[in-house]
Symmetry: none
Subunit: 160 residues, 2 copies
DNA sequence: CATGATATCCCATACTGTCCCATCACGGCG
DNA sequence: CGCCGTGATGGGACAGTATGGGATATCATG
């Protein structure tokens, strides 16, 4: 399950969006014909993955913590309480609930970004901004890596 | 039995609320056509689940604590004694008893939050506050969640 | 036994989520 | 270069849900 690349799709008046077919193909393996979508904890966007993935996490919570564990309760509330199981319609679209649209600031367009075992759903503008930041970081990291390869012994002070 | 997502519904003057159909669908498996609702021990909200689940909990209490443990007695009494079996009416609504409404501070609107094997019923404002706190904690606990995963490669996507 | 408050039941109505079908845009293939 | 298949969009039709009221049972009381 490796989501990659990014696609920009329209969100119609009813709140429907087509999930990129490439992504849908990856999710086909899932028993549930749809995606589990939730609000990202760190970023102003939505995250989506197979329902099994989320199930796995919540199961872990039940196993690792006791039935009456406070921390488990809190994590479950944050994770499951914010996760919507959205089924695909015949055309491969999902209906994004108002709360999710509001959280991500999405109105009529959404950007789907594959990031490994899950994908993000952004409001175009926000995505542009975030992307710029990441590019800057990547650039810095690349330079650093380059420096490391060329002169391993000197890498410590090689901030270019 | 896996409750997820959150829905906001109206509570009419009579104290009736529609239980989200998705939740109702999950409870359909239960022989009792309704839900078991009780006051949460830790949070200022109500908790609800199938009658069967409550029975399971009380059994668990017997296992986790000694048979004559005072705490167990207290918990069991509070849980079993304070639980209301609320049946669905023809429209899928339940009538929340005054005591429960007062406890949760619910007046004309209620938020249903799925948290796995049960769901919570909150007063909107209170839920919003609690939710923000939990999101912050969840962000902090991200590493912990990652550590819980059996398959480490699954946690390597973009940062949650 | 009468009475008011409370719980049920039933019906009417506005919405919203789904489903189905038509149109378009884009590439690949005769 | 036009035909065709797949994916993305839009809209309309309908059924399932969420809500509100009013009429009817129930029950604890005075």
């Amino acid at each position: 399950m490796r989501f990659t690349a990014n696609y920009t799709n329209k969100v119609d008046k009813k709140g429907r969006v087509s999930v990129p077919s490439r992504f849908r193909a990856l999710l086909a393996a899932s028993e549930f014909n749809g995606v589990a979508v939730y609000e990202s904890f760190k970023l102003p966007c939505l995250e989506a993955s197979s329902r099994e993935f989320i199930d796995g996490l919540s199961e872990q919570l039940n196993e690792e913590f006791g039935a009456f564990d406070d921390e488990k309760e809190a994590l479950a509330a944050a994770l499951l309480g914010g996760t919507f199981d959205l089924p695909f319609d015949a055309e491969g679209r999902i209906l994004l609930p108002q709360p999710l649209l509001r959280f991500a600031g999405i109105t009529d367009t959404a950007v789907f970004v594959g990031v490994g075992e899950k994908f993000l759903i952004w409001e175009p503008q926000a995505w542009e901004v975030y992307r710029e930041e990441q590019r800057a970081l990547a650039r810095a990291a690349a330079l650093k890596l380059g420096a490391l390869r060329r002169r391993p012994e000197l890498s410590r002070g090689a901030e270019t």
